[in-house]
Subunit: 562 residues, 2 copies
């Protein structure tokens, strides 16, 4: 599989960099470039934090790829999670290249492309046994396991040497879905020699070995056996192995299965179509039908384990799910733990469920056994490093402290700290047969998606939104006569998001007086430029409002000349 | 101490309710009312969640108290945490009553009153041994421990019977500050007979017994002994016992102490003045001076353990703290765990600290031993219930699932579930010698504080802010001639927080055309009311913008007639 390099080939540099995924959680995108050939690995998205008002999604800035589009041979996807595929439609709208992924991953990508009405895309199904020749790069794969089936690690052979990208992984040696990690293949890859390893760092701060998914199955079965009424179970829809374990528990306890939530319906359908999920004919029923069956004959898989306010579970908890009620003593299982930042919304849903008298099983992972991580802990990360024994190591997929911890783990298995590179998005690692160095950058950043716009909301717009959000807006319309340059009427002052109208009447009257006086004075003088006029209006209103209310609404002077 | 009731007295009802603190975390306020006498316990605040745009603080709605102000005998405070004293200045601005609290608590309240320039308030210092006669209510106290010194439980004797309010508590049997919980007194109170117990529920979901604060001292000492350079330690300023343990570790390792952050300086000064914190003369030095000492001779206490972006620790991590630098291999200790909702901001600060090469000790509580909760766990809550053996029990201070879990704990120590009342803010428990019932309500709710305004921001204003925050605003100014009712010029269209101006030029031109056409058509017809005109402008713009961008900015038509 190793390429047979000519002398010339080894002089060309091999470059490796992230366009997303390091110094952050989410929007993974890694690039391996050799000469005129470039392969992109993954194209994820992430959700904005509260400071990005009104933004729906963040994807990687692919400016570098657009500038080098003739080199881009392929987009290769390791697995079907949002932080690896969420940006694919936006990517393909800007850059048409062949996409390679496994069967389930492709199924999930196709759902997205359909939503975006993207047609004529070039999608290729691969397996862990595939081999791809993409220019001077040869790609092969190895199977890993994670919290979604069909995950790949990627081996990229280049004339300079071999690059390995692990994708997301754990070493689940008794996986619930029978997709064992290909450890022997990994050992062989390492033995043949790895120049650069890129390995994921999500759980680098977590000691030990992540428990097997099959343990969750036992806990789910126990809960189903104890439950006297309906059982609702919420988990990430993409965790198909866990869905299968729920199906198994439902079969064993003679319950039919219904689905609540769009992404649950979508994923289950893809997984059933492609054979990743199996259940007896007639077991899957409509929610409406389920609501009419005896309560101990029904199990429901639903979305909303992160407390998302519009998801099925929140609506059920609030009594807003039209076709299904939550009744006292129904069981609700959170087979999940909150993603950092979602704790409060999860707590709000929990409270609603308790209020309705549900028997709730929650608590982060280990305490209930209803959830295990899909990412390997420290011992597994060390096992991967040991199997691959790379010359150079780039920890990827994590915030800085995780990457930094991952570096320490590499040192603990014998690597020299100088051979480990902690890179930001856009930092380039240039590798030759003689060494590796990190001292240049390519463009990298966030592309903000708001509605249909890709990247048309920038800092100024966001700063305005933040200002509007905090103190509202005050619009002052002043009408001048174009002939004489005098005030034609009293200014119109309109506010939104400021204070109750009834509370602010006196203040508005006072503002009106002051603006009238200040503008009239200005107009009587020499300097009657609009910019000065606007400045005076902002100043008069701003200082009075600050004094009276300690607030600073956005003040927008509008001058109309008729 | 028990009042000697006449027959008449026992016919008057005893009423108990929360105006804040149940079905939520924060803004605690409980009321005990007997006939014409009413005592308020605590007056807390809480921070708004992201949905309350621009709001600084939430305090209890005290409408009921304002309506019954002649009855209000006192505001009694259990301890000096924000969720118990944060609302005091706003309360006293509306209702002047005597305030009773322990020495440290009063010191912290006075800091607030000074900030609000509130003078001539009637503050009375009490101790656990005090007794107060307030109308027909007699108050006495017992000492508890918690994560701030000088905490009280309150005993209210009424002609109907005895009410006990625990305040916040744990049973720390080896407290770092020597303030032991008064268990014998509690036993005596219970033995004499408690009619109603109000007990806090924060850790009702947590099994076992909360570890002692003194364990944290050992860990702090270890970390100080290992540290080779500066040590920064961040914790809640109000945890004075922990501050003392830091002082002790600094003394032992021959370090001077400096303070960073306004609330740290404030609390340390109050605690030193009042003797809650002791250290050798000359130990406390200025930050500037500390920055010039050898790095192994300095310890710094700082605010910011919750990742607050403007607090000392964040500024230090970002290199924005003028008088002090963080250098590689300095030690930074988080003696805290993130409050739900703060996980992301804490993670951001951690990352910055790692990036600067600091040796960081963090991780929630038990993993590092650098933090223990100030609230009792299940076994302690059961101990309190056992000591007090009340006839009726009202779990307070917690979200619903905590209250509900606390009810189960009461049942586990032998109470009848019918004697436990889970009440929302405003629900009234009416108690006589013959029984207790909960079937009426008083006004309760949130008062939103924005700048100087108390409660002048309501739902409409917040809805507007949210709308503005998500999609921005588009203002359309149309100028009509008052004589002929025709359009005097092209409409002015101004946007803020919508999209980049350069991206939206074509769209704005198109909007202008459409508005001009639609308004002209309308003006040519019969129905020329302003309301119709505004409706047409909103509709024309709204539909076009939605089609082109999938966004829904606030559209504000302004009509000027000249």
């Amino acid at each position: 599989m190793e390429a047979n390099p000519t002398d010339n080939d080894t002089k060309i540099g091999l470059s490796i960099f992230a366009l997303g995924g390091v110094f952050e959680i989410g929007k993974n995108m890694y690039v391996v470039e050799y000469g005129d050939d470039l392969v992109v690995i993954d194209c994820g998205s992430k959700f904005p934090d509260e400071s990005l008002l009104g933004i729906d999604l963040i994807t990687p800035d692919i400016g570098y790829l657009l500038q080098n589009k003739d080199k881009v041979r392929a987009l290769v996807i390791t697995h079907g999670h949002e932080d690896h595929i969420g940006g694919v439609p936006y990517f393909l709208k800007q850059l048409r290249v062949p996409v390679y992924a496994t069967r389930l991953t492709l199924g999930l990508i196709e759902l997205k492309l359909k939503e975006h009405r993207l047609k004529k895309t070039e999608l290729h199904e691969i397996t862990a046994a595939s081999e791809l020749a993409l220019g001077k790069l040869t790609l092969s794969f190895f199977r890993t396991n994670h919290s979604i089936p069909d995950c790949l690690g990627i081996v990229l052979d280049t004339p300079v040497g071999r690059v390995v990208h692990t994708g997301d992984f754990k070493f689940d040696l008794s996986p619930a879905n029978g997709q064992y990690p290909e450890i022997h293949k990994m050992a062989r890859i390492g033995e043949e020699g790895v120049l650069v390893l890129l390995s994921e760092s999500t759980n680098a701060e977590r000691p030990g070995f992540t428990p097997s998914e099959s343990l969750v199955g036992d806990k789910i079965m126990e809960a189903f056996q104890k439950a006297r009424h309906r059982v609702f179970l919420s988990t990430f829809a993409s965790n198909v192995s866990r869905l299968q374990q729920v199906v198994d528990a439902a079969i064993r306890t003679e319950r039919k299965l219904a689905l609540m939530g769009r992404s649950m319906v979508n994923v289950v359908n893809v997984a059933l179509d492609y054979g990743y999920l199996t259940m007896p004919e007639g077991m899957l029923i409509d929610v409406k039908v389920a609501s009419e069956l005896p309560r101990d004959k029904v199990a429901i898989l639903c979305t909303g384990s992160q407390g998302e306010p519009m998801a099925a579970l929140s609506r059920l908890a609030n009594g807003n799910y039209a076709q299904m009620d939550l009744l006292p003593e129904d069981t609700v299982i959170f087979a999940s733990s909150p993603i950092p930042g979602n704790e409060r919304s999860v707590a709000a849903v929990l409270d609603q469920l308790y209020l309705r008298g549900a028997y709730v099983i929650h608590g982060s992972g280990s305490s209930t056994g209803m959830h295990v991580s899909g990412h390997g802990s420290q011992e597994e990360l060390k096992l991967m490093l040991t199997l691959m024994k790379p010359a150079y190591f780039v920890p990827i997929h994590g915030e800085y402290r995780m990457l930094s911890r991952h570096k320490e783990l590499a040192q603990s298995v014998g690597m020299d700290g100088n051979d480990v590179f902690l890179m930001r998005n856009g930092d380039v690692l240039d590798v030759t047969r003689h060494g590796a160095e990190q001292n240049r950058k390519v463009t990298a950043g966030n592309t903000l998606i708001d509605g249909l716009g890709i990247g048309d909301v920038g800092n100024v717009v966001l700063r305005d939104r933040k200002h509007l959000a905090e103190d509202g807006i005050l619009i002052v319309v002043v009408t001048l006569s174009s002939d004489e340059g005098t005030l034609l009427s009293r200014p119109e002052i309109i506010t939104r998001g400021f204070v109750h109208v009834k509370e602010s009447e006196a203040l508005l009257a006072e503002l009106n007086q002051r603006v009238t006086a200040d503008v009239s004075e200005l107009l009587a003088g020499e300097n009657r430029k609009w910019s000065v006029l606007k400045h005076v209006i902002r100043k008069s209103c701003g200082s009075l409002i600050l004094e009276r209310t300690r607030r600073r609404p956005m003040i927008l002077p509008v001058i109309i000349e008729v």
